[in-house]
Symmetry: C2
Subunit: 140 residues, 2 copies
DNA sequence: ATGGTGTTTGCAACAATGTTGCAAATAAAT
DNA sequence: ATTTATTTGCAACATTGTTGCAAACACCAT
Protein backbone atom coordinates (compact mmCIF):
# COMPACT_ATOMS: atom_id res chain seq x y z
CA UNK A 1 0.00 0.00 0.00
CA UNK A 2 1.44 3.28 -1.15
CA UNK A 3 -0.32 5.14 1.59
CA UNK A 4 1.37 3.16 4.32
CA UNK A 5 4.78 3.39 2.77
CA UNK A 6 4.48 7.15 2.70
CA UNK A 7 3.82 7.19 6.42
CA UNK A 8 6.78 4.95 7.07
CA UNK A 9 9.12 7.11 5.04
CA UNK A 10 8.04 10.23 6.86
CA UNK A 11 8.48 8.60 10.24
CA UNK A 12 11.87 7.24 9.36
CA UNK A 13 13.00 10.73 8.49
CA UNK A 14 11.56 12.36 11.61
CA UNK A 15 9.02 14.42 9.78
CA UNK A 16 5.52 14.99 11.06
CA UNK A 17 2.88 13.29 9.00
CA UNK A 18 0.66 15.77 7.22
CA UNK A 19 -1.75 15.52 4.33
CA UNK A 20 0.45 17.46 1.96
CA UNK A 21 3.59 15.50 2.62
CA UNK A 22 1.78 12.22 2.29
CA UNK A 23 0.15 13.22 -0.96
CA UNK A 24 3.42 14.34 -2.50
CA UNK A 25 5.25 11.24 -1.34
CA UNK A 26 2.51 9.07 -2.81
CA UNK A 27 2.94 10.79 -6.15
CA UNK A 28 6.63 9.92 -6.08
CA UNK A 29 5.88 6.35 -5.09
CA UNK A 30 3.36 5.93 -7.89
CA UNK A 31 5.43 7.44 -10.70
CA UNK A 32 8.83 5.94 -10.51
CA UNK A 33 10.27 8.66 -12.73
CA UNK A 34 11.34 12.07 -11.54
CA UNK A 35 8.85 14.87 -11.04
CA UNK A 36 9.24 18.59 -11.47
CA UNK A 37 7.62 21.11 -9.23
CA UNK A 38 4.92 21.82 -11.78
CA UNK A 39 4.26 18.11 -12.35
CA UNK A 40 3.47 17.84 -8.69
CA UNK A 41 1.37 20.94 -8.64
CA UNK A 42 -0.72 19.59 -11.50
CA UNK A 43 -1.03 16.03 -10.27
CA UNK A 44 -1.90 17.05 -6.73
CA UNK A 45 -4.84 19.02 -8.09
CA UNK A 46 -6.23 22.05 -6.35
CA UNK A 47 -5.68 20.55 -2.99
CA UNK A 48 -2.42 22.21 -2.03
CA UNK A 49 -0.99 25.63 -2.12
CA UNK A 50 1.98 26.21 -4.39
CA UNK A 51 3.97 27.42 -1.44
CA UNK A 52 3.39 24.17 0.39
CA UNK A 53 4.78 22.23 -2.54
CA UNK A 54 7.91 24.38 -2.60
CA UNK A 55 8.45 24.00 1.10
CA UNK A 56 7.73 20.30 1.11
CA UNK A 57 10.21 19.62 -1.68
CA UNK A 58 12.76 21.75 0.11
CA UNK A 59 12.24 19.74 3.29
CA UNK A 60 12.44 16.41 1.49
CA UNK A 61 15.65 17.54 -0.15
CA UNK A 62 17.23 18.52 3.15
CA UNK A 63 16.20 15.31 4.84
CA UNK A 64 17.53 13.26 1.97
CA UNK A 65 14.21 11.76 0.94
CA UNK A 66 14.59 13.03 -2.59
CA UNK A 67 17.44 14.24 -4.73
CA UNK A 68 17.36 16.91 -7.40
CA UNK A 69 18.28 16.41 -11.03
CA UNK A 70 19.43 19.37 -13.09
CA UNK A 71 17.89 19.68 -16.53
CA UNK A 72 18.50 21.63 -19.69
CA UNK A 73 15.05 23.21 -19.67
CA UNK A 74 15.22 25.17 -16.46
CA UNK A 75 13.01 22.92 -14.43
CA UNK A 76 14.71 20.94 -11.70
CA UNK A 77 13.31 17.46 -11.26
CA UNK A 78 13.10 15.53 -8.04
CA UNK A 79 13.26 11.81 -7.52
CA UNK A 80 13.00 9.54 -4.52
CA UNK A 81 16.27 8.44 -3.03
CA UNK A 82 17.10 4.87 -2.31
CA UNK A 83 17.30 3.74 1.26
CA UNK A 84 20.93 4.49 1.83
CA UNK A 85 20.64 8.23 1.39
CA UNK A 86 20.15 10.56 4.33
CA UNK A 87 20.51 14.13 5.40
CA UNK A 88 22.01 15.69 2.33
CA UNK A 89 24.51 12.87 1.92
CA UNK A 90 23.39 11.06 -1.13
CA UNK A 91 24.78 7.92 -2.60
CA UNK A 92 23.46 9.11 -5.85
CA UNK A 93 25.91 7.86 -8.38
CA UNK A 94 23.47 6.62 -10.95
CA UNK A 95 22.83 8.14 -14.35
CA UNK A 96 19.73 10.18 -15.13
CA UNK A 97 18.02 9.68 -18.44
CA UNK A 98 15.71 12.26 -19.99
CA UNK A 99 13.51 11.10 -22.85
CA UNK A 100 13.08 13.63 -25.62
CA UNK A 101 9.95 11.85 -26.84
CA UNK A 102 7.84 11.46 -23.71
CA UNK A 103 9.64 13.97 -21.53
CA UNK A 104 10.06 11.62 -18.62
CA UNK A 105 13.14 11.50 -16.48
CA UNK A 106 14.25 8.23 -14.96
CA UNK A 107 17.11 7.11 -12.80
CA UNK A 108 19.10 4.32 -14.40
CA UNK A 109 19.88 2.44 -11.24
CA UNK A 110 22.02 -0.12 -12.93
CA UNK A 111 24.37 2.30 -14.60
CA UNK A 112 26.98 3.93 -12.41
CA UNK A 113 28.72 7.18 -13.11
CA UNK A 114 32.32 6.50 -14.13
CA UNK A 115 34.98 8.24 -12.12
CA UNK A 116 36.73 11.07 -13.84
CA UNK A 117 40.29 12.32 -13.73
CA UNK A 118 40.12 16.05 -13.06
CA UNK A 119 42.89 18.54 -13.90
CA UNK A 120 45.15 19.60 -11.03
CA UNK A 121 43.58 21.84 -8.42
CA UNK A 122 40.02 20.79 -9.04
CA UNK A 123 38.21 18.94 -6.28
CA UNK A 124 35.01 17.09 -7.05
CA UNK A 125 32.17 17.02 -4.57
CA UNK A 126 29.30 15.85 -6.71
CA UNK A 127 28.96 14.38 -10.15
CA UNK A 128 25.80 14.48 -12.22
CA UNK A 129 25.45 12.62 -15.45
CA UNK A 130 22.51 13.42 -17.68
CA UNK A 131 21.79 11.54 -20.84
CA UNK A 132 19.02 12.61 -23.14
CA UNK A 133 17.66 10.55 -25.99
CA UNK A 134 14.85 8.08 -26.49
CA UNK A 135 13.79 5.82 -23.66
CA UNK A 136 12.90 2.17 -23.64
CA UNK A 137 9.16 2.74 -23.82
CA UNK A 138 9.19 5.26 -26.65
CA UNK A 139 11.68 3.31 -28.70
CA UNK A 140 9.41 0.60 -30.10
CA UNK B 1 40.82 42.28 -30.59
CA UNK B 2 37.69 40.93 -29.06
CA UNK B 3 35.57 43.31 -31.05
CA UNK B 4 36.82 41.99 -34.37
CA UNK B 5 36.46 38.38 -33.37
CA UNK B 6 32.83 38.98 -32.48
CA UNK B 7 32.20 40.33 -35.97
CA UNK B 8 33.90 37.35 -37.52
CA UNK B 9 31.89 34.89 -35.51
CA UNK B 10 28.64 36.55 -36.46
CA UNK B 11 29.55 36.60 -40.14
CA UNK B 12 30.63 33.00 -40.10
CA UNK B 13 27.25 32.03 -38.74
CA UNK B 14 25.28 34.15 -41.19
CA UNK B 15 23.90 36.49 -38.59
CA UNK B 16 23.53 40.19 -39.13
CA UNK B 17 25.90 42.26 -37.06
CA UNK B 18 24.07 44.32 -34.47
CA UNK B 19 25.13 46.14 -31.34
CA UNK B 20 23.42 43.71 -29.02
CA UNK B 21 24.83 40.57 -30.56
CA UNK B 22 28.32 42.00 -30.62
CA UNK B 23 28.12 43.09 -27.00
CA UNK B 24 26.93 39.69 -25.82
CA UNK B 25 29.50 37.84 -27.87
CA UNK B 26 32.23 40.07 -26.45
CA UNK B 27 31.09 39.18 -22.94
CA UNK B 28 31.50 35.51 -23.79
CA UNK B 29 34.90 36.11 -25.35
CA UNK B 30 36.14 38.04 -22.32
CA UNK B 31 34.92 35.64 -19.65
CA UNK B 32 35.94 32.21 -20.65
CA UNK B 33 33.54 30.62 -18.21
CA UNK B 34 29.86 30.09 -18.84
CA UNK B 35 27.31 32.86 -18.34
CA UNK B 36 23.72 32.71 -17.24
CA UNK B 37 21.03 34.92 -18.62
CA UNK B 38 21.15 37.16 -15.58
CA UNK B 39 24.95 37.37 -15.68
CA UNK B 40 24.65 38.80 -19.14
CA UNK B 41 21.88 41.14 -18.21
CA UNK B 42 23.97 42.54 -15.38
CA UNK B 43 27.26 42.75 -17.24
CA UNK B 44 25.72 44.35 -20.28
CA UNK B 45 24.40 47.12 -18.07
CA UNK B 46 21.30 49.09 -18.92
CA UNK B 47 22.08 49.03 -22.58
CA UNK B 48 19.86 46.19 -23.70
CA UNK B 49 16.35 45.06 -23.13
CA UNK B 50 15.85 41.77 -21.29
CA UNK B 51 13.89 40.48 -24.23
CA UNK B 52 16.79 41.13 -26.57
CA UNK B 53 19.06 39.06 -24.38
CA UNK B 54 16.61 36.16 -24.40
CA UNK B 55 16.22 36.27 -28.15
CA UNK B 56 19.92 36.67 -28.79
CA UNK B 57 20.80 33.66 -26.66
CA UNK B 58 18.09 31.68 -28.38
CA UNK B 59 19.53 32.60 -31.76
CA UNK B 60 23.08 31.78 -30.74
CA UNK B 61 21.90 28.44 -29.46
CA UNK B 62 20.13 27.59 -32.70
CA UNK B 63 23.09 28.61 -34.82
CA UNK B 64 25.46 26.60 -32.68
CA UNK B 65 27.51 29.56 -31.45
CA UNK B 66 26.88 28.64 -27.84
CA UNK B 67 25.77 25.55 -26.00
CA UNK B 68 23.68 25.37 -22.86
CA UNK B 69 24.71 23.76 -19.62
CA UNK B 70 22.07 22.48 -17.22
CA UNK B 71 22.57 23.35 -13.57
CA UNK B 72 21.15 22.32 -10.25
CA UNK B 73 19.97 25.81 -9.38
CA UNK B 74 17.50 26.38 -12.16
CA UNK B 75 19.59 28.78 -14.16
CA UNK B 76 20.85 27.50 -17.47
CA UNK B 77 24.32 28.67 -18.35
CA UNK B 78 25.63 29.31 -21.82
CA UNK B 79 29.16 28.92 -23.11
CA UNK B 80 30.84 29.55 -26.43
CA UNK B 81 31.25 26.52 -28.62
CA UNK B 82 34.52 25.52 -30.16
CA UNK B 83 34.94 25.90 -33.90
CA UNK B 84 33.66 22.53 -34.89
CA UNK B 85 30.12 23.05 -33.66
CA UNK B 86 27.38 24.26 -35.94
CA UNK B 87 23.65 24.44 -36.31
CA UNK B 88 22.54 22.52 -33.31
CA UNK B 89 25.06 19.76 -33.86
CA UNK B 90 27.53 20.14 -31.10
CA UNK B 91 30.71 18.27 -30.55
CA UNK B 92 30.34 19.07 -26.96
CA UNK B 93 31.74 16.11 -25.16
CA UNK B 94 33.68 17.92 -22.49
CA UNK B 95 32.89 18.04 -18.81
CA UNK B 96 31.40 21.08 -17.12
CA UNK B 97 32.66 22.10 -13.73
CA UNK B 98 30.69 24.28 -11.33
CA UNK B 99 32.58 25.79 -8.43
CA UNK B 100 30.66 25.90 -5.18
CA UNK B 101 32.96 28.59 -3.82
CA UNK B 102 33.04 31.22 -6.55
CA UNK B 103 30.01 30.06 -8.47
CA UNK B 104 31.73 30.02 -11.82
CA UNK B 105 31.10 27.38 -14.44
CA UNK B 106 33.90 26.32 -16.74
CA UNK B 107 34.28 23.84 -19.54
CA UNK B 108 37.06 21.36 -18.87
CA UNK B 109 38.23 21.06 -22.43
CA UNK B 110 40.82 18.46 -21.63
CA UNK B 111 38.47 16.03 -19.97
CA UNK B 112 36.20 14.04 -22.22
CA UNK B 113 32.95 12.43 -21.20
CA UNK B 114 33.40 8.69 -20.96
CA UNK B 115 31.05 6.62 -23.05
CA UNK B 116 28.36 4.79 -21.17
CA UNK B 117 26.71 1.45 -21.66
CA UNK B 118 22.97 2.02 -21.56
CA UNK B 119 20.37 -0.63 -20.77
CA UNK B 120 18.61 -2.20 -23.73
CA UNK B 121 16.14 0.02 -25.55
CA UNK B 122 17.67 3.30 -24.52
CA UNK B 123 19.22 5.45 -27.23
CA UNK B 124 21.54 8.27 -26.26
CA UNK B 125 21.49 11.53 -28.16
CA UNK B 126 23.32 13.82 -25.81
CA UNK B 127 25.39 13.37 -22.71
CA UNK B 128 26.00 16.06 -20.13
CA UNK B 129 28.41 15.63 -17.31
CA UNK B 130 28.35 18.14 -14.49
CA UNK B 131 30.83 18.10 -11.69
CA UNK B 132 30.53 20.48 -8.79
CA UNK B 133 33.19 21.09 -6.20
CA UNK B 134 36.02 23.56 -5.73
CA UNK B 135 37.85 24.95 -8.71
CA UNK B 136 41.54 25.53 -9.29
CA UNK B 137 41.42 29.21 -8.38
CA UNK B 138 39.44 28.83 -5.17
CA UNK B 139 41.45 25.86 -4.00
CA UNK B 140 44.63 27.56 -2.81
C1' DA C 1 -9.47 11.78 25.29
C1' DT C 2 -7.78 16.72 26.28
C1' DG C 3 -5.02 20.59 26.31
C1' DG C 4 -0.56 22.86 25.50
C1' DT C 5 3.28 23.55 22.26
C1' DG C 6 5.83 23.82 18.34
C1' DT C 7 5.39 22.88 13.45
C1' DT C 8 3.05 23.32 9.14
C1' DT C 9 -0.16 25.39 6.14
C1' DG C 10 -2.63 28.86 3.34
C1' DC C 11 -3.03 33.41 2.13
C1' DA C 12 -1.46 37.71 0.44
C1' DA C 13 1.78 40.34 -1.36
C1' DC C 14 5.78 40.57 -3.71
C1' DA C 15 10.08 39.61 -6.68
C1' DA C 16 12.15 37.44 -10.42
C1' DT C 17 12.03 35.14 -14.70
C1' DG C 18 10.29 34.08 -19.18
C1' DT C 19 6.93 34.98 -23.33
C1' DT C 20 4.28 37.39 -27.05
C1' DG C 21 2.55 41.02 -30.38
C1' DC C 22 3.49 44.97 -32.54
C1' DA C 23 5.43 49.29 -34.15
C1' DA C 24 9.79 51.71 -34.70
C1' DA C 25 14.62 51.29 -35.71
C1' DT C 26 18.30 49.20 -38.01
C1' DA C 27 21.32 46.16 -41.13
C1' DA C 28 21.93 44.29 -45.54
C1' DA C 29 21.06 44.04 -50.49
C1' DT C 30 20.15 46.37 -54.75
C1' DA D 1 20.01 56.14 -51.47
C1' DT D 2 16.11 53.38 -51.29
C1' DT D 3 13.95 49.25 -50.40
C1' DT D 4 13.23 45.09 -47.72
C1' DA D 5 13.68 41.89 -44.30
C1' DT D 6 15.47 41.47 -39.77
C1' DT D 7 16.08 43.03 -35.17
C1' DT D 8 14.98 45.80 -31.30
C1' DG D 9 12.38 47.95 -27.46
C1' DC D 10 8.23 48.47 -25.24
C1' DA D 11 4.17 47.02 -22.98
C1' DA D 12 1.51 43.73 -21.30
C1' DC D 13 1.19 39.41 -19.64
C1' DA D 14 2.19 34.50 -17.80
C1' DT D 15 4.83 31.65 -14.96
C1' DT D 16 7.83 30.62 -11.28
C1' DG D 17 9.86 31.34 -6.84
C1' DT D 18 10.07 33.89 -2.05
C1' DT D 19 8.62 35.93 2.50
C1' DG D 20 5.83 37.24 6.72
C1' DC D 21 2.18 36.19 9.39
C1' DA D 22 -1.98 34.34 11.42
C1' DA D 23 -4.82 30.21 11.54
C1' DA D 24 -4.81 25.24 11.45
C1' DC D 25 -2.79 21.20 12.58
C1' DA D 26 0.22 17.21 14.37
C1' DC D 27 2.46 15.58 18.23
C1' DC D 28 3.39 14.91 23.08
C1' DA D 29 2.35 14.60 27.96
C1' DT D 30 -0.98 14.25 31.00
Amino acid sequence: MVNKKADELLKKNHLSITGGRKKILELFLQHDGALSHSDIEKKAGEKFDRVTVYRTLQTFLEKGLVHSIPTADNSIRYALCKDDCSGGHHHDDHVHFICNACGSTVCLEGVTVPSIELPGGYVSEQVDMLISGVCKNCNQ
